[in-house]
Symmetry: C2
Subunit: 525 residues, 2 copies
Amino acid sequence: MTLTGQFFIAGERRGAGETFHAYDPGKGASIEDIGFFTSTEQDIADACAAAEEAAVAYANLPLERRAVFLEAIASEIEALGDALLSRACAESGLPLPRMTGERGRTCGQLRLFAAEVRDGQWLKLRIDHGDPRRTPPKPDLRLRMIPLGPVAVFGASNFPLAFSTAGGDTASALAAGCPVVVKGHPAHPGTAELVAGAITKAAADTGMPAGVFSLVTGTGNAIGAALVADPRIQAVGFTGSRSGGEALMKIAASRPQPIPVYAEMSAINPVILLPNALANRGKALAAGYVASLTMGSGQFCTNPGLVLALEGPDLDAFLAEAGALVEAQAPQTMLTAGIHSAYEKGSAALAATPEVITVARGIHPTGPHEGRTALFSVAARDWLAKPDLQHEVFGTSSIVVRCADRAQLLEVLRGLEGQLTATLHMDEADNDDARALLPVLERKVGRILANGWPTGVEVGHAINHGGPYPATSDGRTTSVGTLAVDRFLRPVAYQDMPESLLPEALREGGQRGMITRLDGAWHLS
Amino acid sequence: MTLTGQFFIAGERRGAGETFHAYDPGKGASIEDIGFFTSTEQDIADACAAAEEAAVAYANLPLERRAVFLEAIASEIEALGDALLSRACAESGLPLPRMTGERGRTCGQLRLFAAEVRDGQWLKLRIDHGDPRRTPPKPDLRLRMIPLGPVAVFGASNFPLAFSTAGGDTASALAAGCPVVVKGHPAHPGTAELVAGAITKAAADTGMPAGVFSLVTGTGNAIGAALVADPRIQAVGFTGSRSGGEALMKIAASRPQPIPVYAEMSAINPVILLPNALANRGKALAAGYVASLTMGSGQFCTNPGLVLALEGPDLDAFLAEAGALVEAQAPQTMLTAGIHSAYEKGSAALAATPEVITVARGIHPTGPHEGRTALFSVAARDWLAKPDLQHEVFGTSSIVVRCADRAQLLEVLRGLEGQLTATLHMDEADNDDARALLPVLERKVGRILANGWPTGVEVGHAINHGGPYPATSDGRTTSVGTLAVDRFLRPVAYQDMPESLLPEALREGGQRGMITRLDGAWHLS
């Protein structure tokens, strides 16, 4: 597939007039091979109109056809071959092995959601039979989940494949039966065009309604704002900065019809080193910590930006060990010029804070847009006095908070904003400490790890990649894993509906293989 | 139980200073027996602090104890006897049989949610076993739902019992494991005090943490605003006007941590009379319609405010029949002076609209705050040209839209805002028409009825009392039925957590009787 610079509206390539170029952060230079067209207001309106037109037809296709469509997207992405990988690497500064892995994750995710469509338990069937002899007569009620309608998805800078055009939000919305309009991230427009071409081909080959997918592109915020404001859009998926997510939330809340926004935004992911673990294996913990912190230039939402431990010689030894490892860290290219400069600013601000100790810095960068690893520490009382220290510094920066005692550690945890994850490093002798912390952590985060590192989010059924605000805009949901489908569904009940007009799954005995709540009792028929 | 005019903060009666009085709309006069105290900012803060303090303890009680608490509330409400009913009737103008029925519904609902707590399937257990041999090693992940934290509930004017202090929002939030702070509706403060006393006694008798329930009271909007703005409140349940719901949504969205608002607000509940049904049983339909319209002085969120049918002699006959029935309707006391005057204003505005025909008015009121039934009709083209005609007129007012043909009927439906319900009256020969309308109705409403009337919302498992905006603020949820519990839950995943620290239900083999998604497959163990 050759790049044309065009975007896609309901199966057709489009684009004229104004163009912008991609940027190679590793080279510090624009990629001049192709200009990418900017979608107009009319393009956005056309994409939304086509999505609305496709909504009922797509929602009511047999589930098997929806599943086949998702699988075809995965195959078409694989068929793009190395061209996709090299383009994505050039546009993100990420190395080839990472991009190969991310492609595997993206296609695996599409196939997982295809299986989820077939599984169908997200329909959440419920039947309460009527009783005409009751006073007043009891109606027959049958309930299922249906798709919300067209969904807007924003490509993420830090995952050009797995959280972008055909990423988790798109895959879960399509799985739920919702047409999708993607706003491509301007940092990787070529990657977006290639993937959108794959989706468009898969949609045509599997006979989907044309409006099931569109891609709009451009720089600046106006395109995304117009997309979220369009009355046909019924939900929004976003992964990115807190300011970006909050801007979309404001637009969504001030529409004549407010709509849900699923924004995955900001987290520093506290890691708690409990005393026995710290004493018995501080060196291994330091190695694991620095590896998690620096993976992918620290550009993960689950990056361990905060470590908590009790003051003492064990923590001093851990800091010395981690500091030595940080000093040996080579700088890595960051995703965009903007992200790199925000990192420099954020880490410099920490370094300049009088109460904050710079434990170590990584090797000084020599290439463009390289981030220099930064390890800080601060006393808990100072942390508590300076709420600004909580703000995420996106990249390889982390701060160790030295707590005077258990009460202070608890106070720091209680004062944290909502987080995606919290991690406990613990030996068996730390069990009582862990048990005391768990109820506090449950209130604060979406995923609690023991003796692991928060980076590396398993895509599965029991994962939760979400958390209380501001980790996400809606802590009731996850953006990774099969539970993500639920975000795009809502219940409809049918009362005394003639059998022939009911959806098949709600007819008498039509629940083959489905969990059904039948007159209150649960059946796995 | 004797009224004291006090409210309840975490098990203690409180109140001093400023008071207000209840009002008997049937008599058109204040009820001077007792003055009700207004909660201060400090009272609200204390209620929220106590709720937060109780949150972890209440969430982690054995489910059986939570269920027993809900059942004790029902018993204590019943133990209040006739005093509760007569007070609620005086404060609402509603007749005794209705209030007796509403008490039955309220207590039945509490017991249903107690059973739902025991059922426990809302925990949504998921386990993905790990695999240390995979590269990278696959973690062990286990997920369950946990309560959101303290919930603010607003008493509703139109259901002094079933949607107020111990109503559906309170019952479902308590069932989910969330402490509740109720803002009592100022129209029925005595009812609120009696019911809050019952809850407080039930909480003490069953050993609940004191902060599990509080009631704050007062007139004006400041108390509710302060409650929703309190940082400890994590969700809001509300039933009332669109303007009231939207005001709370604004406050919730502009908090440093925005929170979900479940507001059930506004609907006109279209009823479609399909041609064969209209021809074959227009007279019976007219009788059913007028009965549904006038029940409870029309003060239901599911009141049939809109009827759609094709022009012709059958519709003319229906209108004549319904008009004759409306003319014989006695006026009924409305809930409050404010609701009555809004009804008078709304129905007068319809009557004064040149395109709107006044088909019939009920008998002229003679008592205070009585609403006079109003039946209007309008041509579909005029309806389409005047979007304001869609606004709900709360009370016994309804409008019949005469459609020139099926295309115009569809256009009217497509132009509707979100609704709680839609109703099809149909004979078998109308099946094709119904089939064509269903996909449109599914996009617009939360419950679709055939050959029934939308008033009378069955409390059960397969009910959905919700719908797209502005019927509710969050169409993904229901405020009636067991699915309402889900509103107050969010997922937490545990990764590689030692067995002894896992919640019991997530330990190996700890899923007794629970539906569990185990490595992707569903088990009803």
